[in-house]
C-alpha cells in the first residue's frame, strides 16, 4: 500500500481524498469545515483525523498535493479593447486559469474606471488589447491608467507585442508588480492563452495563497499547486484525451452546481458539423470553462428572482409536486442562511428546482448557438460558440448533485429543448455523477500520476 493524500481547501469544506497508488483505488475521503479565519490547518487536521479513524489501514502517507478555492477563490479583472475580441480573450484566459472574473473593462479606461478597479476586491489584473502589430495606443493608455492609480495587485500584460517596450517604460521602477507575456489574441480571433495562464498559476502559488492565509499550510503539506477550478478543468481534459494507452472519453462536459456559482467545463472543439454553417466570433478554447455568478444554490439564490419569473420557475417543479411553494421567501431563506440543508420533502423539491434552473440556464449561456441567414443561395447559418450536439458525456459534480438521490434527473436539463434560440446543446449524452467528489483531487493527482488519475475517474464516475 502506498497512500497518497489529495487536499482541496474549498470555500466551505476542506476535502481530503486518499488514494492508494499501488492498488490504484480510493482508500477513503473525508471533509471538515475550512478554517481560513483562524488557522487553515485546524480544518485540515480535523479532516485528517476523521480519515485516519475511518481507515486505520493507512499507516504512512507517501505524498500530499493540494489545491485551493478558499477565501473567495481567485478573483480577476479582465481588460481589453473590443468587447467581443480582446476583452473576451482576456476573460476566457482568466476563466481557463480557474479564476472568477469580477471586473471587466473595454477600450480606453477612464479615471473613474481605474479608481473602481483599484478599490475592487481582486487578486490579479489581466491587461490585453490589440493584435500583434495592431492597435497599441489603447493598451499603453490603460497601462498608464493603472500606474496613475498605483494599482496594488499583480498585473499581467498580454496584449499587442509592439506595445511591450512602451509599457515597460511606464511601469518600470514604479513598484507595480507586472509580468509581460504573449498576446492572448495575437491574430484576429485567434486565442493564445497558454503563457498567460501559466503566469496566473505562478502568481497564485507565490502570492495569492499567502495573502489569503493558506500559505501556512504549506509547511506541513507541501506546495498548493493550483486553484481548485483549474484542477477540475485539468481532470476533465485528461478524462477527455486519455493518457498513453489508456483511452479517454472524448468530448465531454462537467456541470458543477455550487452555492455561489454554476461552472460548466467542456472538452471539445465544437466546430460546425454541416457545410452550410459559418463559424463566427473569437476562437473557442478546447477546454472551455464558463462561470455563472448569478446561478447558485445559496449565495446567489436571490439573483434567480430577476432571472426567472414565478410562472417560469413553477415549470421546473415535478409534475406530481403538490407542495405549495412560496418562491420568493424560499429563495431569500437560502441566500440569508447559506448553510441551509433541506429537511422536508417540500424543501428538497425546491432545491431540486433551483438546481434545474442553474443547469438549464448555465447550459444556454455555455453552448454555441446558430442564427439563420437567408442568402440568394438558400439558407445559411452563423454559428457562435461551440457545437456540442454530438457530445458523449455529461458529468455532474457539486454538493446538490452529489447528495441528490436522482441527480441525473437534474442533469437531464442539459438537453432540454429551448425555445429561445437555436442552441447547440448535447443531444443525447450519457450522464455520469461524481458521487465520491473526486474530480478536483484527480486534477491535482494528474500532475504527477496522470494514468492513475485517469483510471480512477473511469472507475469512480458513474
Amino acid at each position: 500500500m502506498k497512500p497518497y493524500l489529495l487536499v482541496d481547501f474549498g470555500s466551505t469544506y476542506t476535502k481530503l481524498t486518499c488514494v492508494d497508488l499501488e492498488g490504484e483505488y480510493i482508500i477513503g475521503t473525508s471533509k471538515a469545515p475550512t478554517t481560513v479565519e483562524t488557522n487553515v490547518l485546524d480544518g485540515y487536521d480535523r479532516a485528517l483525523e476523521w480519515l485516519m479513524k475511518d481507515h486505520p489501514e493507512i499507516d504512512e502517507i507517501s505524498g500530499i498535493s493540494a489545491c485551493s478555492s478558499a477565501a473567495g477563490g481567485l478573483k480577476m479583472a479582465a481588460i481589453g479593447l473590443v468587447e467581443e475580441l480582446t476583452v473576451e480573450a482576456a476573460k476566457r484566459t482568466c476563466l481557463g486559469a480557474g479564476a472568477i472574473v469580477t471586473e471587466v473593462f473595454s477600450h480606453h479606461m477612464n479615471k473613474r474606471e481605474a479608481k473602481r478597479l483599484k478599490e475592487a476586491n481582486i487578486d490579479i489584473v489581466l491587461l490585453a488589447g490589440g493584435t500583434d502589430g495592431g492597435n497599441k495606443e489603447c493598451i499603453v493608455h490603460n497601462a498608464q491608467k493603472l500606474k496613475d492609480v498605483d494599482i496594488q495587485v499583480p498585473v499581467i500584460i498580454a496584449g499587442n507585442k509592439d506595445a511591450q517596450d512602451d509599457i515597460d517604460e511606464i511601469l518600470e521602477n514604479t513598484g507595480i508588480e507586472y509580468y509581460i507575456v504573449n498576446n492572448v489574441m495575437p491574430k484576429l480571433k485567434i486565442l493564445n492563452v497558454k503563457e498567460a495562464k501559466h503566469v496566473i498559476r505562478k502568481i497564485f502559488i507565490d502570492k495569492i495563497i499567502e495573502a489569503k492565509g493558506i500559505k501556512k499550510a504549506e509547511a506541513k503539506i507541501g506546495e498548493i499547486i493550483m486553484p481548485t477550478p483549474e484542477a477540475v478543468l485539468l481532470a476533465a481534459e485528461l478524462l477527455s484525451n486519455g493518457y498513453e494507452d489508456e483511452e479517454g472519453y472524448g468530448e465531454l462536459m462537467i456541470v458543477d452546481i455550487g452555492g455561489a456559482t454554476t461552472d460548466v467545463h467542456t472538452m471539445g472543439d465544437g466546430y460546425p458539423k454541416r457545410t452550410e454553417v459559418v463559424l463566427k466570433g473569437l476562437q473557442e478554447p478546447f477546454a472551455k470553462r464558463t462561470v455563472e455568478g448569478d446561478l447558485g444554490m445559496r449565495y446567489s439564490a436571490n439573483a434567480l428572482l430577476s432571472l426567472v419569473s414565478n410562472f417560469e420557475f413553477k415549470k421546473y417543479f415535478e409534475e406530481d409536486d403538490d407542495c405549495e411553494h412560496d418562491i420568493q421567501t424560499s429563495l431569500h431563506r437560502r441566500a440569508e442562511n447559506v448553510d441551509f440543508i433541506p429537511k422536508t420533502k417540500s424543501e428538497e423539491d425546491f432545491d431540486e428546482a433551483i438546481a434545474k434552473i442553474c443547469c438549464d440556464m448555465s447550459m444556454s449561456r455555455h453552448v454555441g448557438h446558430v442564427e439563420v441567414v437567408h442568402t440568394p443561395l438558400g439558407e445559411m447559418y452563423y454559428q457562435t460558440g461551440k457545437d456540442l450536439t454530438d457530445l458523449k458525456y455529461v458529468i455532474g459534480t457539486g454538493g446538490v448533485l452529489i447528495n441528490h438521490d436522482d441527480a441525473k434527473k437534474i442533469l437531464k436539463q442539459v438537453n432540454k429543448k429551448s425555445d429561445k434560440k437555436l442552441e447547440l446543446r448535447p443531444a443525447n449524452p450519457s450522464i455520469l455523477i461524481d458521487k465520491s467528489y473526486i474530480l478536483a483531487a484527480m486534477g491535482i493527482l494528474s500532475q504527477k500520476y496522470p494514468k492513475i488519475a485517469l483510471k480512477l475517474m473511469k472507475q469512480y464516475l458513474m
Partner: protein, 134 residues
C-alpha cells in the same frame, strides 16, 4: 507593414474573389486581416480597431451591397475609425445601372473608393498605395 481589413459583407457567401484579394494584397506586402464571407459591418469595424487597420475593403457580389453598406461610414466614425479609408467593389447594386451614378451614391455614403463590376484587385492597388502607403 500596413494592415487592411477585407471581407464579404451581408448575407453574401462568394468566397473566391475574397481569397484572390487576400492573396494579391498579401503578395504586395500588406498585412491582410480577412473577416471572410457573411461579415457584418460590426465584424469589419471590430477587426479594424484591434488590428489598427488603415483601410477597410468591402466586397459584395450578390447585388444587395447598397443595403448592407448603409451607415457603414457613420458606424466607423462612431467607433473612432473616421480616418480609416473605405473601399467597396464587386456587383454592389441590383441589376445593371449607370456606374457613374452608383459611384456617386456610394461616395455620398462615405466610401473613398468605389469599383465597378469586373475590376481586378490590381486596379485598387495603386489607389491603396496612394491612400495609405505600403
Amino acid at each position: 507593414m500596413k494592415t487592411v481589413v477585407i471581407g464579404v459583407i451581408g448575407a453574401d457567401v462568394h468566397a473566391v474573389g475574397n481569397k484572390i484579394i487576400d492573396y494579391v494584397l498579401t503578395e504586395k506586402g500588406y498585412n491582410v486581416v480577412n473577416t471572410g464571407v457573411l461579415s457584418s459591418q460590426e465584424d469589419f469595424i471590430s477587426a479594424a480597431i484591434e488590428t489598427d487597420a488603415k483601410a477597410i475593403l468591402v466586397s459584395s457580389l450578390y447585388g444587395h451591397g447598397e443595403m448592407d453598406c448603409v451607415f457603414f461610414k457613420e458606424k466607423c466614425e462612431e467607433a473612432g475609425l473616421g480616418h480609416v479609408k473605405l473601399y467597396v467593389g464587386g456587383n454592389i447594386v441590383v441589376g445593371k445601372q449607370d456606374f457613374n451614378k452608383v459611384e456617386k451614391r456610394f461616395k455620398k455614403m462615405g466610401f473613398d473608393r468605389v469599383y465597378a463590376p469586373g475590376m481586378k484587385i490590381e486596379c485598387a492597388l495603386d489607389d491603396l498605395r496612394e491612400d495609405i502607403g505600403i
